[in-house]
Subunit: 347 residues, 3 copies
C-alpha cells in the first residue's frame, strides 16, 4: 500500500469530525516582504514598523490575508485535494494579530456534508480555526467546497450544515489590542479619506491593472504551502476542463486588495470576511482589475469600520463596475465577489 496521501474523498468526511492539519509555519518579515513583492500591496500598516507603532501596535503585523492564505493552505491536503471547486467562504473573523515570529497551526471541524444529486460529488462545509504558538486563535472561518466521491456507489450521509450568517455582525468585529488611530498619519498612509468620507452605496474604480504570470502565482501558492495540484501541474491540467493551470483564488483576493489601495488606502486592516466567491477562473496572462462598493458603515468607537464589496475582473476595466448581467448571472469577466469588513480611522 502506498504511503503517499491520496486526499480525502466526499465519503470520507463525517459531520462533527475534527481534523488537525499538518505543517505548522513560522511567518517572518520574509513573508511580509514576499507578500509585497507578490501583490504590490502598499498598505502602510503592513509595510512599516514605525507606522504600526504610531498606531499603538508593537510593529507591523502580518497582512490578515496572508494569515488567511497560510491557514487555508494547511487545510488543502486534508480538505480539498480532490475538490472540484472552492465554493465559498463565510463567517471569517480575524481574532489576534499575527506578528513576524509567530507560528500558525490550523484545525478544521466538518460542519456538514451534502451529496449532490449526480452521485459523483458532494459539498463539504468546514469551519477552520487558525492558532498561534500560544494557542491563541488568530482566524476562524467557514468554507464550503465541492469534493469528488472516490466511489460513486458509496453510501453518503446527508448531514447539511446550518446556513452560515450572511455577514459578521459589527459587534463581533475585533480591533487589534492597543490599536489607537489618534496619531494616524493620512499622508504617510497614502490617501486622504477617512471613515466619514465614505458613503454606503459608493463605488470606487481602483483603476490599476495587474497581469499575472505563472511563476508569480506558483510562488505565492507555494509560499502558503497550498498543494492543490490544479495550480502547479501543467501536464495534468492539459486533461482538465480548462486545459491549463488554474490560479489559486487567494491570489486573486490578495491582488484585488492590493489594487484597492487606490481609493481605500486607509481601510488597511481587514477585520472579517463576510462572504467570498470565486466566480470564474483566473489564468496566467490575465490582467486583473478591481472595484469596490461600500455596503455598510459602523462606528466602532476608536475606529470606523467599512463593509466593502470587492469585485475583481479579468481583462476588462473596472470602470464599468461590472458584476452580474441583467439576467442575474455573473458576467464571465468577473473573477471574485468578496465581502469584508475593514477598520478605517475617523478623521
Amino acid at each position: 500500500m502506498t504511503k503517499s496521501n491520496p486526499g480525502r474523498f466526499f465519503e470520507d468526511f463525517a459531520k462533527g469530525e475534527t481534523i488537525a492539519h499538518a505543517t505548522p509555519r513560522t511567518l517572518s518579515e520574509a513573508d511580509a516582504a514576499l507578500n509585497i513583492a507578490l501583490t504590490g500591496a502598499r498598505y502602510a500598516f503592513f509595510s512599516a514598523d514605525s507606522f504600526a507603532q504610531n498606531c499603538g501596535l508593537p510593529g507591523a503585523p502580518i497582512d490578515p490575508l496572508l494569515v488567511f492564505h497560510t491557514v487555508f493552505g494547511k487545510t488543502v491536503p486534508d480538505i480539498s485535494l480532490n475538490a472540484v471547486a472552492n465554493l465559498g467562504y463565510a463567517e471569517g473573523r480575524f481574532l489576534t494579530p499575527v506578528y513576524p515570529g509567530d507560528t500558525l497551526n490550523a484545525v478544521s471541524e466538518v460542519l456538514g456534508v451534502k451529496a449532490n444529486s449526480n452521485g459523483k460529488t458532494g459539498i463539504v462545509t468546514v469551519r477552520t480555526d487558525g492558532f498561534n504558538q500560544d494557542g491563541a486563535p488568530v482566524l476562524s472561518y467557514v468554507r464550503w467546497v465541492m469534493v469528488n466521491k472516490r466511489d460513486e456507489a458509496a453510501p453518503t450521509a446527508d448531514a447539511p450544515p446550518i446556513t452560515p450568517k450572511p455577514a459578521v455582525a459589527a459587534a463581533d468585529l475585533l480591533l487589534p489590542l492597543g490599536l489607537d488611530f489618534t496619531g494616524y498619519d493620512f499622508d504617510l498612509a497614502g490617501g486622504p479619506h477617512g471613515f466619514d468620507d465614505y458613503e454606503v452605496g459608493e463605488r470606487i474604480d481602483h483603476v490599476d491593472g495587474m497581469t499575472v504570470e505563472e511563476a508569480e502565482h506558483q510562488l505565492a501558492t507555494r509560499l502558503y504551502q497550498n498543494t492543490a495540484k490544479v495550480h502547479f501541474d501543467a501536464l495534468a491540467q492539459q486533461g482538465s476542463r480548462f486545459g491549463k493551470r488554474l490560479i489559486y483564488g487567494g491570489v486573486a483576493i490578495s491582488l484585488a486588495r492590493a489594487l484597492a489601495f487606490n481609493g481605500l488606502a486607509n481601510a488597511q486592516l481587514m477585520l472579517a470576511i463576510n462572504a467570498g466567491r470565486h466566480v470564474n477562473p483566473l489564468f496566467a496572462g490575465d490582467t486583473l482589475y478591481a472595484w469596490s462598493e461600500v455596503l455598510a458603515k459602523e462606528d466602532l468607537g476608536e475606529a470606523g469600520a467599512l463593509r466593502l464589496r470587492l469585485v475583481a475582473l479579468k481583462n476588462r476595466s473596472a470602470a464599468g463596475f461590472t458584476a452580474r448581467t441583467e439576467a442575474g448571472e455573473y458576467d464571465p469577466g468577473v473573477v471574485l465577489d468578496f465581502d469584508y469588513w475593514a477598520a478605517i480611522p475617523k478623521r
Copy 2:
C-alpha cells in the same frame, strides 16, 4: 467624485512645492535576500554580516541601489504616474547606510517645471530625499521626468530648475561611519583588484548575460512598491507605443551592477549617482549585458573611490563596448548609461 488617485499632471506641479510621499517601508533581511534572488548580486558587503563586520560596520547594510529603488518607488504615485518618460538622474548621494530594520520615508521638492513646445507635455525636475526612522537622510537625488498635461489648454508656468551638476564632487562623497578597509579580504570578496589596479580610461567587459522574465521584473518593481502602470498592465500596454510591458529602469540598473561584479568585485559600495539615463526600453525576454569604464579616481584616505560609467546593452555582447554611433546617437542596443562613484579598498 472618485477616491482613486489619478496622479498629478504637468500643470499640477509648482516650483518650490514639497511633496511628502506615502507608504513608509521597513527593509529587512528579506529585502536583502530578494535583492540577491532578483539580481544575482554577489558583492560580499551586502551578502554576509561577517564580511561587513570585518570592515567596521555593524552588519551587512542594505544594497544602496535597493535603497534607491525603495525611495524612488515612493515617489511614483505623486511624481510619475502620468509620466511619458523618466529622463535622468543627477546629484545622487548615499548619506547614511541603511540596515535591516530601518524604515524609509521620502519627500520631494519640485526644483523646476518646463513646458514642452508641443503643448502636451512638460519636464518636471525634483529633488527627492529619503530618510530613515530617525529622520536621518539616507539618500538625496535629483530626477527629471516628462509628464503629460491633463488639459493641453491649461496655462503652464515656465520655471526651469538650475542645471544639475555633471557629477558629485569627490569632497561630497560620504563613506559609511566606521568603515575600515584594513582587514579587507580580497579572496572572500571575489576579486584581486584594488584601487591602484584601475586606470582612468580602462574599460571592462563584464562578460555574463542575464535574460529577464516578466515575473522577475514585476516581483522586483512591486517589492519597491513602484506602481507605474507601464510595468504591470499588459492589457493597457497593448495600446502603447511598445505594445507590451516596459521593465522599470531600476531593474536594469541593478542587473547591470550585479553583472559588473565580474571585474569590479571590490567596488562594492556605491557612494553617489552622478548621472543616469534610460536610453532604450528593456522588455521581458531581452538579455542584458554590461560594460564599465573608469572615468575618474579619487583617493579618499581610508579608501579609494572610482567614478565608473556603467553601460547596459540588450541582446548584444558587451565585448564591443558599444555606446554611441559615430553620429553621436545611442546605439539602439544601449539600455542604460549610468555614472556613479563607488568606494574600493586600496591593496
Copy 3:
C-alpha cells in the same frame, strides 16, 4: 588585460590545490521562506520554529539542501564556470545544522584531474567544505565535473582521485546536537509513517507534479549566487546543444525532495548525500514528478535513518517507477538519480 574572471579551464587545476571561494553569505529566515516559495517544501522542521524546538533544536534550521546549494554556488566561479557537465556527487555529509543568521563560506580541494581522450576536456574532482562564521564545518562533499580545456594543446597531468565511496557509512551520519524525537508530533508533521513502517525495497510514488518556469529557476539559482551562464543567458544558449537555458540541477533536487513529502513526510532531515547524478537536462516548461525507493535502513539509537533513492522524471508520471531501460540506459525522461540518508523518528 581584462579584469573580469574567465573561469578556470581544465589545465588550470592541479591535484592537491586548495581554493578558497568568494562571497560569504548570511542565510536568514528570508532564505527559508524563499526556499518554501520556490520549492513548495512542507517538511515541518524547516517550516516552524515550534516544531523544531519540540524536537530539541533552538529553532527551525535551514533546509540542508539549501545549505548545499549555497555552498555549491560559491564554488561555481572557481570550479565550473567552463564546465561541460556536472557529473556527480558523493561522500556528502551534513555536519552542523545551519540556523538563520549563520554565514557560510566554502573551500575546495582538488582531489584529482583526468584528461579525456578527446583532448578537449577533462574531469576534475573536488572535495568542497562549507563552514559557518565560527569555522565549524557544516557540509562536506565530493563532486566531479567535466571541464573544457582552454588550449587543446596544453599538456595535462593525469592525477585521478581515489574512487569515492559508494555511500556514506551509517556510522558517519551525524544527528544535529540536541535532537530528540521523543515528543515528535506525527500529525503536525503531516504523515503517520515512522522508521518501522518502511521496508527496504519499498517504492513510493510521490504523485504530485510541479511545472517549472524560467523565472522560478533563475530566482532560485541567483539566490544561491550560482553564476553558471547556462542557467541565465538565453541568447548565448541559443548556440548551445539544447538551444535554451538549462535548469540548475540543484533546483531539480529540491523540487523532487519537496514532492517526496507526500509519502516521506517524516524523513525530514537529510543527513548525507551518498551519490547524485543529473541524468538528463530539465528545462522551463517541464513538469517534474518523483518517486523514491528505500535502499537501506539503519537504527541510530534516538532516531532511525533511511537510505533513499530519489528519482525525478520530467513530463511523465512517477507511477511506473521509471529509471533505466532494459538495456541499462537511463530512460530519457529521468532527470535525477539521487541517493541520500535521512533521519526519521521511530514511532
